[in-house]
Amino acid sequence: MVNTKLFQEERNFWGWIFALPAILSLLLFVAYPIVFSVILSFTDQRSAANIQLDFKGLQNYVYLFTNARTLYWPSMLNSFLFSVISTVIQTVLGFFLAYVLYNMGKRSQAIYRVLLYIPVVLPSAVVAIMWKFIYQHDNGLIDVILTQWFGLENLPVWTVTPGWAMAAVILTNTWRFLGTTLILYFVAMNAVPRDCLEGAKIDGANKLHILWYFILPLTFATTKVNLVMSFVGGMKSFDLFFLLTEGLGNTNVVGMIIFNTMYRQQNMSLTVTMSIVLSLILAVFVYFGNFYLKKVDEKND
């Protein structure tokens, strides 16, 4: 029999060698930036050009928490709203569509799977420009349809009017990421063991019962992961807002504020402080979200 201690040592040795590039990557692109950012947040550094670390203590944090004119917290609220609505719509719709797909024939499944996932792989520039074009005032697809086929007039400007602008971005975001939730749920549903379902059918359960009592709980793991990741992604989301509305119409989200602080206010330490506070908030959410969802999971079992 193999000398297990030796084998373990061998594994450790090789493990470190194989993981070396990954560790290097993490050091350079994760550890170093985080450490440096934390250090920067305690200084007063304007640009990234001349790094002089003149420490000013908690100045930036105090500014962030007491000064409302950076619009940091209102934008956090916007982000939150966007995240929650997006996640809910995507999850519900994704689940529903996955279920429909689940019940269809193999050939249709193959076709729809590919088609519905294509928006996800499209570059964000393409998605944004495409939808900007669709939302355009008077010339865009939506306005043309509404005025020519439905005869409506005096339509609001979709990407500028408060309220409509957020709805527009949510629609675009949902259109884009519907595919991910769809695929995740579809895969999870397929993993539910068939014999379990057969047994239930024989026992007389109809489709609705199966859905509610079997499929929903058994795919909960996916729901858990999906909810958390969607929410976090939504909070950090920035490129759609940058390209589609540029923060007008009350769509200032945290990402935009951070970007503006970096490029318009030209205040690097404040930017970094904002990012750190955002990350901490997200970490808290993820932790509590996981905790709560685990409890629901245990209840299900």
Binding site: E9, L71, H137
Partner: protein, 487 residues
């Protein structure tokens, strides 16, 4: 020690050594690539570079005019064979992040574009990107420019100059001459005639009288024009600190602003002189509306001249936003804008600076400007440039006051103040409101501005609000307010 432990030790030590060496190599030599760490010495402009081969970088934001720039560079390189100019281009919307990024990376172009009236943000305490050209260019050449160098004024900072104006940019009103003749309308010479014209157009036809666009576009300029006129009439514009935009605003001034906002709302929200939804439109929308004959006039950047002439058979005319009759010379109206210009990088090595200065002199000289005017239909900043196209001449005439009226604030504004500005635009395009509400908005914006100016995190230069020292020309101002109230 087992074989693996031995091996592990060797590998670990090797990796550590490599990292340390890399670290020293990378961060050790970093001192030189940090921008701003090497303030170049004085007297660089006298360096003799005739025999040295130098590469300089030149940044502009007009890919659509790339050919003209290539020609200019080619001409320059012919006369200065030892200097090689490398052309880089950015775009209108990303020039700020390009320059910021270049600064961060230590690669600021030796000659770069920036708006004359906006150059102050690159010359503040912490960031000194643009070289002081007062002695080496302004004092030498100012009389060769329009209005004997008035066009430099918007880029002035503490009586020093940092940017040479190249091409005028401003918002003027293009009108469809063919349509005007058809309906018997006349080009207005004063603000009062302009208002009458707007009313007449709505009565005679279905056309939009004046197409404005955008929350932060020409729709904003309708307000700033009236404010600029009020300031000239009341004497505020003659206050020595007027241009800083940091004069305190007392109750009387806020009342005046409220009247102005109400007037604009009357025009835009109630009488719909500016079309159905000005906020949502864009430059292209405005150009298309004018070309399609959907509107009688449109406020566009003067550089839209090329588009208008290329794509339509109608004849177009131009004038600037007219001034009230009571002002001297009302025919040269307010033009929101200033000049596109070029700066020298303050961070280049002395030799590159000397070469860059030579290139700048050629780029902003008579020959290059004339070439540009001929090819691109632009209005240039030098007196000597002649325009063959009659419409171009008209545009040049109407832009005489570009960059001369109005304030050019140097402090940074917060997101909150920007938001209030947007809500004022929304207010002016709606049809519900009151004088009290307008006053409230003006007060909010003022209070927010005061907070911005004194915010040392946003503006580490420690600006202050300044008490005005002018005496109000009450009689004239009352006449203007009376006009504002006719709505």
């Amino acid at each position: 020690m087992t074989t693996y432990q031995k091996r592990g030790l060797i590998v670990g030590v090797a990796v550590l050594l490599v990292l340390v060496i890399l670290g020293i190599v990378i961060f050790g030599s970093g001192g030189n690539s940090d921008p701003g760490n090497n303030p170049p010495d004085d007297g660089w402009e006298d360096i003799d570079i005739t025999n040295k081969k130098i590469d300089i970088n030149f940044l502009h934001i007009w890919p659509e005019h790339a050919k003209s720039f290539e020609q200019i560079v080619a001409n320059f390189e012919k006369n200065n064979p030892n200097i090689n100019v490398n052309i880089q281009s950015s775009t209108y919307s990303s020039i700020d992040s390009s320059l910021q990024g270049a600064y961060n990376g230590g690669k600021v172009p030796d000659v770069f574009f920036y708006w004359t009236h906006g150059v102050s943000q690159w010359v503040n305490q912490d960031l000194k990107l643009a070289e002081d050209i007062t002695d080496i260019y302004y004092n030498v050449h100012k009389n060769e420019f329009i209005s004997d160098g008035d066009c430099f004024i918007s880029g002035q900072l503490n009586n020093r100059y940092y940017n040479v104006p190249f091409r005028a940019t401003g918002f003027v009103i293009y009108y469809n001459k063919t349509l005007f003749e058809e309906y018997g309308w006349e080009k207005p010479n004063t603000l009062e005639e302009f208002e009458a014209l707007l009313q007449q157009i709505t009565e005679d036809s279905d056309l939009t009288p004046l197409h404005l666009w955008g929350v932060a576009g020409t729709f904003l300029y309708a307000r700033t024009s009236l404010i600029a006129y009020a300031d000239v009439i009341s004497g505020r514009a003659s206050d020595p600190n007027y241009r800083t935009g940091r004069l305190t605003q007392d109750d009387a001034y806020l009342d005046l602003l409220a009247e102005i906002y109400e007037k604009v709302r009357d025009w835009g929200g109630i009488k719909k002189y500016f079309g159905g939804s000005p906020l949502g439109s864009s430059t292209e929308g405005a150009e298309q509306a004018l070309l399609n004959g959907e509107c009688a006039m449109a406020m566009l950047n003067n550089n839209s001249l090329g588009v208008l002439q290329a794509e339509s058979e109608d004849e177009f005319g131009v004038f600037s936003f007219p001034a009230p009759a009571m002002m001297n010379d009302p025919s040269a109206g307010y033009v929101h804008g200033g000049y596109y210009g070029f700066c020298l990088s303050a961070l280049s090595s002395p030799e590159k600076k000397a070469a860059a200065l030579k290139f700048l002199e050629y780029l902003c000289g008579d020959e290059a400007m004339q070439l540009f005017a001929n090819n691109e239909g632009s209005i240039m900043a030098r007196k000597s440039v002649t325009y063959t196209d009659p419409l171009q001449q008209d545009v040049a005439k109407s832009m005489r006051r570009a960059g001369v009226m109005g304030t050019f604030p140097q402090y940074k504004g917060s997101e909150a103040t920007g938001g209030i500005g947007q809500s004022i635009s929304s207010y002016c395009s709606g049809n519900s409101g009151s004088l009290e509400r307008a006053r409230e908005l003006a007060l909010n914006e003022y209070n927010s501005t005061v907070l911005d100016v004194t915010d040392t995190i946003m503006n580490p230069e420690k600006f202050q609000m300044i008490e005005p020292t002018y005496t109000v020309n009450q009689e004239e101002l009352d006449k203007f307010i009376a006009w504002l109230r006719t709505r």
